[in-house]
Protein backbone atom coordinates (compact mmCIF):
# COMPACT_ATOMS: atom_id res chain seq x y z
CA UNK A 1 0.00 0.00 0.00
CA UNK A 2 1.27 3.46 -0.89
CA UNK A 3 0.18 6.97 -0.03
CA UNK A 4 0.87 10.25 -1.90
CA UNK A 5 4.51 9.88 -2.91
CA UNK A 6 5.56 11.25 -6.33
CA UNK A 7 4.05 13.50 -8.99
CA UNK A 8 4.20 13.17 -12.78
CA UNK A 9 4.61 16.69 -14.23
CA UNK A 10 2.38 15.76 -17.15
CA UNK A 11 -0.44 15.25 -14.69
CA UNK A 12 0.13 18.53 -12.84
CA UNK A 13 -1.76 21.57 -14.10
CA UNK A 14 -0.63 24.05 -11.45
CA UNK A 15 -2.68 26.64 -9.60
CA UNK A 16 -4.55 29.32 -11.55
CA UNK A 17 -2.39 32.06 -10.09
CA UNK A 18 -3.95 34.67 -12.39
CA UNK A 19 -6.55 35.02 -9.67
CA UNK A 20 -3.85 36.66 -7.52
CA UNK A 21 -3.92 39.85 -9.59
CA UNK A 22 -5.76 42.59 -7.75
CA UNK A 23 -4.20 45.81 -9.05
CA UNK A 24 -2.53 45.65 -12.47
CA UNK A 25 -2.11 43.44 -15.46
CA UNK A 26 0.35 43.86 -18.38
CA UNK A 27 -1.15 45.20 -21.57
CA UNK A 28 0.90 44.30 -24.66
CA UNK A 29 0.52 47.21 -27.09
CA UNK A 30 1.77 45.24 -30.14
CA UNK A 31 3.06 48.49 -31.68
CA UNK A 32 6.86 48.84 -31.42
CA UNK A 33 7.79 45.29 -30.36
CA UNK A 34 11.12 44.10 -31.80
CA UNK A 35 10.73 40.49 -30.58
CA UNK A 36 13.77 40.75 -28.30
CA UNK A 37 12.00 38.10 -26.10
CA UNK A 38 13.12 39.73 -22.83
CA UNK A 39 9.54 39.77 -21.52
CA UNK A 40 9.33 36.02 -22.12
CA UNK A 41 12.73 35.40 -20.58
CA UNK A 42 12.24 37.47 -17.42
CA UNK A 43 8.71 36.38 -16.45
CA UNK A 44 8.89 34.56 -13.08
CA UNK A 45 5.85 32.51 -14.04
CA UNK A 46 7.02 31.59 -17.53
CA UNK A 47 3.56 32.65 -18.70
CA UNK A 48 4.62 35.02 -21.48
CA UNK A 49 4.44 33.39 -24.89
CA UNK A 50 5.25 34.52 -28.40
CA UNK A 51 7.61 34.32 -31.34
CA UNK A 52 6.98 37.03 -33.93
CA UNK A 53 7.08 40.80 -33.52
CA UNK A 54 3.99 42.30 -31.94
CA UNK A 55 2.72 38.83 -31.08
CA UNK A 56 3.81 38.36 -27.48
CA UNK A 57 1.22 38.02 -24.74
CA UNK A 58 0.85 37.07 -21.08
CA UNK A 59 -1.37 34.14 -20.12
CA UNK A 60 -3.75 35.82 -17.70
CA UNK A 61 -4.61 32.46 -16.13
CA UNK A 62 -1.19 32.53 -14.50
CA UNK A 63 0.07 36.14 -14.67
CA UNK A 64 0.42 37.60 -11.17
CA UNK A 65 0.78 41.18 -12.40
CA UNK A 66 4.31 41.77 -11.04
CA UNK A 67 5.16 44.25 -13.82
CA UNK A 68 8.74 43.08 -14.48
CA UNK A 69 7.97 42.45 -18.16
CA UNK A 70 6.75 46.02 -18.57
CA UNK A 71 9.88 47.25 -16.82
CA UNK A 72 12.30 45.26 -18.99
CA UNK A 73 10.74 45.99 -22.39
CA UNK A 74 13.28 48.19 -24.24
CA UNK A 75 10.54 49.69 -26.41
CA UNK A 76 8.09 50.35 -23.59
CA UNK A 77 5.59 48.32 -25.60
CA UNK A 78 4.10 46.78 -22.44
CA UNK A 79 2.15 48.96 -20.01
CA UNK A 80 0.60 48.01 -16.69
CA UNK A 81 -3.10 48.83 -16.71
CA UNK A 82 -5.67 48.50 -13.94
CA UNK A 83 -7.01 44.99 -13.57
CA UNK A 84 -10.61 46.05 -14.27
CA UNK A 85 -9.66 47.28 -17.78
CA UNK A 86 -11.91 45.96 -20.47
CA UNK A 87 -10.88 44.85 -23.93
CA UNK A 88 -8.19 42.29 -23.09
CA UNK A 89 -8.00 39.07 -25.04
CA UNK A 90 -6.90 35.68 -23.73
Amino acid sequence: MFGPLTVDPLKSKGDKTGSWRVQYRPHYLHKDCIACRMCLIICPEGCVHGKEKNAFYADYNFCKGCGVCADICPKKDIVMVPEESKGEDK
Binding site: M1, G3, P4, L5, T6, V7
Partner: protein
Protein backbone atom coordinates in the same frame (compact mmCIF):
# COMPACT_ATOMS: atom_id res chain seq x y z
CA UNK B 1 31.59 -21.60 1.43
CA UNK B 2 32.51 -21.95 5.08
CA UNK B 3 35.11 -19.52 6.39
CA UNK B 4 36.43 -18.68 9.85
CA UNK B 5 36.49 -14.92 9.92
CA UNK B 6 35.66 -11.72 11.78
CA UNK B 7 32.00 -10.70 11.68
CA UNK B 8 32.73 -7.42 9.88
CA UNK B 9 34.58 -9.26 7.13
CA UNK B 10 31.65 -11.65 6.72
CA UNK B 11 29.29 -8.70 6.32
CA UNK B 12 31.56 -7.14 3.70
CA UNK B 13 31.53 -10.46 1.81
CA UNK B 14 27.75 -10.65 1.72
CA UNK B 15 27.38 -7.01 0.75
CA UNK B 16 29.83 -7.64 -2.07
CA UNK B 17 27.69 -10.57 -3.19
CA UNK B 18 24.61 -8.35 -3.23
CA UNK B 19 26.38 -5.95 -5.63
CA UNK B 20 25.16 -2.55 -4.49
CA UNK B 21 25.69 0.19 -7.05
CA UNK B 22 26.57 2.86 -4.50
CA UNK B 23 28.14 2.42 -1.07
CA UNK B 24 28.57 5.35 1.26
CA UNK B 25 29.48 5.35 4.93
CA UNK B 26 31.30 7.38 7.54
CA UNK B 27 33.69 5.60 9.89
CA UNK B 28 32.54 4.94 13.46
CA UNK B 29 33.65 2.26 15.89
CA UNK B 30 32.67 -0.61 15.70
CA UNK B 31 31.49 -0.52 12.09
CA UNK B 32 34.82 0.52 10.58
CA UNK B 33 36.06 -2.88 9.47
CA UNK B 34 32.99 -3.48 7.32
CA UNK B 35 33.47 -0.32 5.33
CA UNK B 36 37.26 -0.64 5.14
CA UNK B 37 36.83 -4.13 3.69
CA UNK B 38 34.41 -2.86 1.08
CA UNK B 39 36.82 -0.08 0.15
CA UNK B 40 39.57 -2.66 -0.31
CA UNK B 41 37.31 -4.78 -2.51
CA UNK B 42 36.55 -1.77 -4.70
CA UNK B 43 40.23 -0.83 -4.86
CA UNK B 44 41.07 -4.36 -6.05
CA UNK B 45 38.32 -4.38 -8.65
CA UNK B 46 36.44 -7.20 -6.86
CA UNK B 47 33.48 -4.87 -6.43
CA UNK B 48 32.45 -2.33 -9.06
CA UNK B 49 30.32 -0.17 -6.77
CA UNK B 50 30.74 3.58 -6.56
CA UNK B 51 32.31 4.07 -3.13
CA UNK B 52 31.64 7.55 -1.77
CA UNK B 53 33.76 8.67 1.20
CA UNK B 54 31.58 11.28 2.85
CA UNK B 55 32.28 13.93 5.45
CA UNK B 56 29.55 12.89 7.92
CA UNK B 57 26.88 10.26 8.61
CA UNK B 58 24.18 12.75 7.68
CA UNK B 59 25.76 12.92 4.24
CA UNK B 60 26.33 9.15 4.09
CA UNK B 61 22.61 8.56 4.51
CA UNK B 62 21.86 11.40 2.07
CA UNK B 63 24.15 9.90 -0.56
CA UNK B 64 22.43 6.50 -0.36
CA UNK B 65 19.05 8.26 -0.40
CA UNK B 66 19.96 10.04 -3.64
CA UNK B 67 21.45 6.93 -5.22
CA UNK B 68 18.48 4.77 -4.25
CA UNK B 69 16.15 7.42 -5.66
CA UNK B 70 18.06 7.11 -8.93
CA UNK B 71 17.10 3.42 -9.05
CA UNK B 72 20.29 1.80 -7.81
CA UNK B 73 20.83 -0.70 -4.99
CA UNK B 74 22.70 0.92 -2.08
CA UNK B 75 24.42 0.10 1.19
CA UNK B 76 25.48 1.97 4.27
CA UNK B 77 26.51 1.11 7.83
CA UNK B 78 26.73 3.00 11.08
CA UNK B 79 26.39 2.91 14.89
CA UNK B 80 25.31 4.92 17.88
CA UNK B 81 26.24 8.61 17.39
CA UNK B 82 26.39 8.14 13.65
CA UNK B 83 22.87 6.76 13.56
CA UNK B 84 21.67 9.65 15.67
CA UNK B 85 23.42 12.19 13.43
CA UNK B 86 21.65 10.75 10.39
CA UNK B 87 18.35 10.40 12.18
CA UNK B 88 16.45 12.95 10.12
CA UNK B 89 17.69 11.33 6.91
CA UNK B 90 16.69 7.91 8.28
CA UNK B 91 13.11 9.10 8.75
CA UNK B 92 13.29 10.80 5.35
CA UNK B 93 14.35 7.59 3.59
CA UNK B 94 11.44 5.66 5.08
CA UNK B 95 9.00 8.46 4.32
CA UNK B 96 10.16 8.48 0.71
CA UNK B 97 9.82 4.67 0.55
CA UNK B 98 13.35 3.93 -0.63
CA UNK B 99 14.72 0.37 -0.17
CA UNK B 100 17.98 1.25 1.59
CA UNK B 101 19.72 -1.50 3.59
CA UNK B 102 21.86 -0.46 6.54
CA UNK B 103 23.95 -2.40 9.01
CA UNK B 104 23.68 -1.00 12.51
CA UNK B 105 26.60 -2.22 14.63
CA UNK B 106 24.78 -1.73 17.92
CA UNK B 107 26.68 0.51 20.28
CA UNK B 108 25.82 2.53 23.39
CA UNK B 109 25.00 6.20 23.03
CA UNK B 110 26.57 9.32 24.50
CA UNK B 111 26.73 10.71 27.06
CA UNK B 112 28.88 9.41 28.55
CA UNK B 113 30.73 8.40 25.42
CA UNK B 114 31.05 4.62 25.24
CA UNK B 115 32.01 2.48 22.28
CA UNK B 116 30.83 -0.86 23.58
CA UNK B 117 27.67 -2.76 22.84
CA UNK B 118 24.11 -2.18 23.80
CA UNK B 119 21.00 -1.75 21.65
CA UNK B 120 20.02 1.80 22.58
CA UNK B 121 20.95 3.21 19.17
CA UNK B 122 18.70 1.25 16.84
CA UNK B 123 15.93 0.94 19.42
CA UNK B 124 15.83 4.74 19.69
CA UNK B 125 14.88 4.83 16.01
CA UNK B 126 12.05 2.33 16.31
CA UNK B 127 9.44 4.84 15.11
CA UNK B 128 11.25 5.59 11.88
CA UNK B 129 9.42 3.25 9.50
CA UNK B 130 12.49 1.05 8.94
CA UNK B 131 12.30 -2.69 9.38
CA UNK B 132 14.60 -3.74 12.23
CA UNK B 133 15.97 -7.28 12.41
CA UNK B 134 18.42 -8.46 15.08
CA UNK B 135 21.06 -11.14 14.53
CA UNK B 136 22.14 -13.57 17.23
CA UNK B 137 25.34 -14.67 15.56
CA UNK B 138 27.42 -13.90 12.50
CA UNK B 139 25.72 -16.47 10.28
CA UNK B 140 22.44 -14.70 10.90
CA UNK B 141 24.07 -11.33 10.39
CA UNK B 142 25.21 -12.47 6.95
CA UNK B 143 21.91 -14.16 6.01
CA UNK B 144 19.84 -11.22 7.25
CA UNK B 145 21.47 -8.84 4.76
CA UNK B 146 20.29 -11.02 1.88
CA UNK B 147 16.81 -11.19 3.36
CA UNK B 148 16.91 -7.43 3.96
CA UNK B 149 17.51 -6.59 0.29
CA UNK B 150 14.87 -9.06 -0.83
CA UNK B 151 12.33 -7.61 1.60
CA UNK B 152 13.16 -3.95 1.01
CA UNK B 153 13.05 -4.15 -2.79
CA UNK B 154 9.79 -6.15 -2.91
CA UNK B 155 7.42 -4.01 -4.96
CA UNK B 156 4.72 -4.42 -2.33
CA UNK B 157 7.08 -3.16 0.38
CA UNK B 158 9.62 -0.53 -0.79
CA UNK B 159 10.78 0.29 2.74
CA UNK B 160 14.30 0.44 4.19
CA UNK B 161 15.72 -2.31 6.42
CA UNK B 162 18.15 -2.01 9.34
CA UNK B 163 20.12 -5.18 10.07
CA UNK B 164 21.26 -4.93 13.70
CA UNK B 165 24.26 -6.81 15.02
CA UNK B 166 25.86 -6.30 18.42
CA UNK B 167 28.97 -4.14 18.16
CA UNK B 168 32.28 -5.84 18.99
CA UNK B 169 30.53 -9.03 20.12
CA UNK B 170 29.48 -9.86 16.58
CA UNK B 171 31.34 -7.34 14.44
CA UNK B 172 34.72 -8.24 15.90
CA UNK B 173 33.96 -11.79 16.95
CA UNK B 174 35.47 -14.61 14.91
CA UNK B 175 33.04 -17.34 13.88
CA UNK B 176 32.71 -19.99 11.23
CA UNK B 177 30.26 -18.62 8.71
CA UNK B 178 28.91 -20.06 5.51
CA UNK B 179 29.31 -17.20 3.01
CA UNK B 180 26.72 -17.70 0.25
CA UNK B 181 28.14 -18.20 -3.22
CA UNK B 182 27.41 -15.67 -5.94
CA UNK B 183 25.26 -18.02 -8.04
CA UNK B 184 23.04 -18.87 -5.09
CA UNK B 185 22.74 -15.18 -4.18
CA UNK B 186 21.66 -14.49 -7.74
CA UNK B 187 18.94 -17.13 -7.39
CA UNK B 188 17.60 -15.63 -4.21
CA UNK B 189 18.06 -11.93 -4.89
CA UNK B 190 16.93 -10.59 -8.28
CA UNK B 191 18.34 -7.34 -9.68
CA UNK B 192 16.79 -4.21 -8.23
CA UNK B 193 14.01 -2.84 -10.39
CA UNK B 194 12.81 0.48 -8.94
CA UNK B 195 9.12 1.21 -8.67
CA UNK B 196 9.83 4.95 -9.04
CA UNK B 197 13.07 6.75 -9.76
CA UNK B 198 14.77 9.86 -11.08
CA UNK B 199 15.03 9.23 -14.80
CA UNK B 200 15.21 11.83 -17.56
CA UNK B 201 13.19 9.46 -19.76
CA UNK B 202 10.23 9.67 -17.35
CA UNK B 203 10.55 12.74 -15.12
CA UNK B 204 8.85 12.76 -11.73
CA UNK B 205 9.07 14.93 -8.65
CA UNK B 206 9.97 13.20 -5.37
CA UNK B 207 9.86 14.59 -1.84
CA UNK B 208 7.08 17.14 -2.27
CA UNK B 209 5.45 19.25 0.40
CA UNK B 210 2.38 17.41 1.72
CA UNK B 211 -0.03 19.66 3.56
CA UNK B 212 -2.61 18.40 6.09
CA UNK B 213 -4.74 17.18 3.20
CA UNK B 214 -2.13 14.68 2.06
CA UNK B 215 0.38 13.86 4.83
CA UNK B 216 -1.50 11.37 6.96
CA UNK B 217 -2.15 8.85 4.21
CA UNK B 218 1.56 8.46 3.53
CA UNK B 219 2.10 7.41 7.15
CA UNK B 220 -0.96 5.15 7.18
CA UNK B 221 0.34 3.42 4.07
CA UNK B 222 3.70 2.66 5.71
CA UNK B 223 1.94 1.31 8.79
CA UNK B 224 -0.23 -0.94 6.60
CA UNK B 225 2.74 -2.11 4.57
CA UNK B 226 4.67 -3.05 7.70
CA UNK B 227 1.68 -5.06 8.95
CA UNK B 228 1.31 -6.84 5.60
CA UNK B 229 5.03 -7.57 5.51
CA UNK B 230 4.75 -9.86 8.50
CA UNK B 231 3.19 -12.32 6.06
CA UNK B 232 5.79 -11.70 3.34
CA UNK B 233 8.63 -12.52 5.78
CA UNK B 234 7.47 -16.11 6.09
CA UNK B 235 7.52 -16.52 2.29
CA UNK B 236 10.96 -14.95 2.00
CA UNK B 237 12.22 -17.21 4.76
CA UNK B 238 10.87 -20.25 2.93
CA UNK B 239 12.60 -19.22 -0.29
CA UNK B 240 15.79 -18.61 1.67
CA UNK B 241 15.64 -22.11 3.10
CA UNK B 242 15.13 -23.60 -0.36
CA UNK B 243 18.19 -21.85 -1.76
CA UNK B 244 20.56 -21.89 1.22
CA UNK B 245 19.25 -24.67 3.47
CA UNK B 246 18.83 -22.54 6.60
CA UNK B 247 15.34 -22.29 8.05
CA UNK B 248 14.33 -19.09 9.83
CA UNK B 249 10.69 -20.19 10.01
CA UNK B 250 8.43 -17.12 10.04
CA UNK B 251 11.43 -14.87 10.60
CA UNK B 252 9.68 -13.21 13.53
CA UNK B 253 10.85 -15.08 16.65
CA UNK B 254 12.81 -18.13 17.69
CA UNK B 255 11.27 -20.40 20.31
CA UNK B 256 13.90 -22.15 22.43
CA UNK B 257 12.55 -24.78 24.81
CA UNK B 258 9.41 -22.84 25.69
CA UNK B 259 6.96 -25.71 25.18
CA UNK B 260 6.30 -26.46 28.86
CA UNK B 261 8.34 -23.66 30.38
CA UNK B 262 7.35 -22.00 33.63
CA UNK B 263 9.79 -19.13 33.16
CA UNK B 264 10.77 -17.65 29.80
CA UNK B 265 13.20 -14.84 29.03
CA UNK B 266 12.46 -12.63 26.05
CA UNK B 267 15.54 -11.02 24.48
CA UNK B 268 17.15 -9.86 21.23
CA UNK B 269 20.57 -10.27 19.67
CA UNK B 270 23.75 -12.03 20.72
CA UNK B 271 22.84 -12.24 24.41
CA UNK B 272 20.46 -15.03 23.36
CA UNK B 273 23.46 -17.30 22.85
CA UNK B 274 24.32 -16.88 26.52
CA UNK B 275 20.69 -17.33 27.53
CA UNK B 276 20.45 -20.58 25.55
CA UNK B 277 23.43 -21.97 27.49
CA UNK B 278 21.79 -21.10 30.81
CA UNK B 279 18.49 -22.60 29.65
CA UNK B 280 20.32 -25.83 28.77
CA UNK B 281 22.08 -25.81 32.14
CA UNK B 282 18.86 -25.29 34.09
CA UNK B 283 16.86 -27.76 31.99
CA UNK B 284 19.50 -30.38 32.76
CA UNK B 285 18.72 -29.76 36.42
CA UNK B 286 15.00 -30.21 35.78
CA UNK B 287 14.05 -26.53 35.80
CA UNK B 288 11.42 -25.66 33.19
CA UNK B 289 12.83 -22.56 31.54
CA UNK B 290 13.01 -21.25 28.01
CA UNK B 291 13.89 -18.35 25.73
CA UNK B 292 11.81 -16.45 23.20
CA UNK B 293 14.20 -14.63 20.88
CA UNK B 294 12.81 -11.65 19.00
CA UNK B 295 14.25 -11.58 15.49
CA UNK B 296 12.06 -8.95 13.86
CA UNK B 297 11.63 -6.01 16.22
CA UNK B 298 9.93 -3.72 13.70
CA UNK B 299 7.23 -4.45 12.81
CA UNK B 300 6.73 -5.92 16.25
CA UNK B 301 5.21 -9.43 15.97
CA UNK B 302 2.52 -9.05 18.65
CA UNK B 303 0.34 -11.94 17.46
CA UNK B 304 3.29 -14.30 17.20
CA UNK B 305 4.54 -13.37 20.67
CA UNK B 306 1.04 -13.92 22.04
CA UNK B 307 0.89 -17.37 20.49
CA UNK B 308 4.28 -18.32 21.88
CA UNK B 309 3.86 -17.09 25.45
CA UNK B 310 0.13 -17.17 26.19
CA UNK B 311 0.46 -20.24 28.43
CA UNK B 312 3.71 -19.26 30.12
CA UNK B 313 3.16 -18.18 33.74
CA UNK B 314 6.23 -15.97 34.16
CA UNK B 315 8.04 -13.94 31.52
CA UNK B 316 11.20 -11.88 31.98
CA UNK B 317 12.01 -9.31 29.31
CA UNK B 318 15.72 -8.56 29.05
CA UNK B 319 16.30 -5.16 27.45
CA UNK B 320 19.73 -3.96 26.39
CA UNK B 321 18.33 -0.46 26.24
CA UNK B 322 16.31 1.79 28.46
CA UNK B 323 13.56 4.29 27.85
CA UNK B 324 14.56 6.78 30.52
CA UNK B 325 11.56 7.76 32.57
CA UNK B 326 9.37 4.89 31.37
CA UNK B 327 9.21 1.13 31.03
CA UNK B 328 11.94 -0.51 28.95
CA UNK B 329 11.29 -0.68 25.16
CA UNK B 330 10.81 -4.41 24.56
CA UNK B 331 9.02 -4.87 27.89
CA UNK B 332 6.43 -2.34 26.80
CA UNK B 333 5.74 -4.32 23.62
CA UNK B 334 5.38 -7.52 25.62
CA UNK B 335 2.88 -5.99 27.97
CA UNK B 336 0.94 -4.56 25.04
CA UNK B 337 0.85 -7.98 23.38
CA UNK B 338 -1.14 -9.41 26.27
CA UNK B 339 -3.22 -6.54 27.57
CA UNK B 340 -6.93 -7.24 27.35
CA UNK B 341 -6.38 -10.75 26.04
CA UNK B 342 -7.96 -13.85 27.54
CA UNK B 343 -4.67 -15.65 28.16
CA UNK B 344 -1.19 -14.48 29.08
CA UNK B 345 1.57 -14.59 31.66
CA UNK B 346 0.68 -13.74 35.24
CA UNK B 347 3.91 -11.80 35.52
CA UNK B 348 5.87 -9.88 32.91
CA UNK B 349 8.94 -8.52 34.64
CA UNK B 350 11.35 -6.20 32.95
CA UNK B 351 15.13 -6.30 33.36
CA UNK B 352 17.81 -4.02 31.97
CA UNK B 353 21.30 -5.40 31.40
CA UNK B 354 24.47 -4.91 29.44
CA UNK B 355 24.28 -1.14 29.01
CA UNK B 356 27.50 0.40 27.74
CA UNK B 357 28.93 -3.04 27.08
CA UNK B 358 28.74 -4.36 30.65
CA UNK B 359 29.28 -8.09 30.27
CA UNK B 360 26.20 -10.29 30.54
CA UNK B 361 27.52 -13.53 31.97
CA UNK B 362 25.92 -16.91 32.56
CA UNK B 363 25.56 -15.79 36.17
CA UNK B 364 23.70 -12.67 35.06
CA UNK B 365 21.11 -14.81 33.30
CA UNK B 366 20.79 -17.10 36.32
CA UNK B 367 20.14 -13.93 38.32
CA UNK B 368 17.37 -12.91 35.92
CA UNK B 369 15.63 -16.27 36.40
CA UNK B 370 16.08 -15.87 40.15
CA UNK B 371 14.52 -12.41 40.15
CA UNK B 372 11.61 -13.58 38.02
CA UNK B 373 9.11 -14.26 40.80
CA UNK B 374 5.42 -13.67 41.39
CA UNK B 375 6.28 -10.08 42.30
CA UNK B 376 6.53 -8.09 39.07
CA UNK B 377 9.49 -5.75 38.71
CA UNK B 378 10.04 -3.03 36.14
CA UNK B 379 13.34 -1.85 34.64
CA UNK B 380 15.28 -3.85 37.23
CA UNK B 381 18.96 -3.29 36.42
CA UNK B 382 21.10 -6.46 36.48
CA UNK B 383 24.75 -6.33 37.64
CA UNK B 384 24.44 -2.75 38.82
CA UNK B 385 27.34 -1.48 40.99
CA UNK B 386 25.77 0.47 43.87
CA UNK B 387 29.18 1.69 45.06
CA UNK B 388 29.33 3.92 42.01
CA UNK B 389 26.11 5.72 42.88
CA UNK B 390 25.93 8.83 45.06
CA UNK B 391 22.96 10.73 46.38
CA UNK B 392 24.58 14.10 45.98
CA UNK B 393 27.03 15.34 43.44
CA UNK B 394 30.62 15.57 44.67
CA UNK B 395 30.20 13.23 47.61
Amino acid sequence: MKEFLEGSHAIAEIVKACKPGVISAYPITPQTHIVEDLATMVANGELTSQFVNVESEHSAASVVLGASATGVRVYTATSSQGLFYMQEVVFNIAGMRLPVVMTCANRAVSAPINIWNDQQDSISLRDSGWFQIYAEDNQEAVDFHLIAYRLAEDKRVMLPVMVCMDGFILTHGMETVDIPEQDKVKKFLPDYNALYKLDTAHPISMGLLADPNYYMETRFAIQETMQESIGYLADISKKFNTVFGRDYKDFLVEEYQIKDAEKVIVAMGSVCGTIKEVVDEQRAKGKKVGLLRIITYRPFPYARVYEALKDIPKVAVLDKAVSLGAYAPIAVELKAAFYGKKKGPKVISSFVAGLGGRDITLESIHEVFRRLTVKEVNSDFIDLKPELLKEEYGE
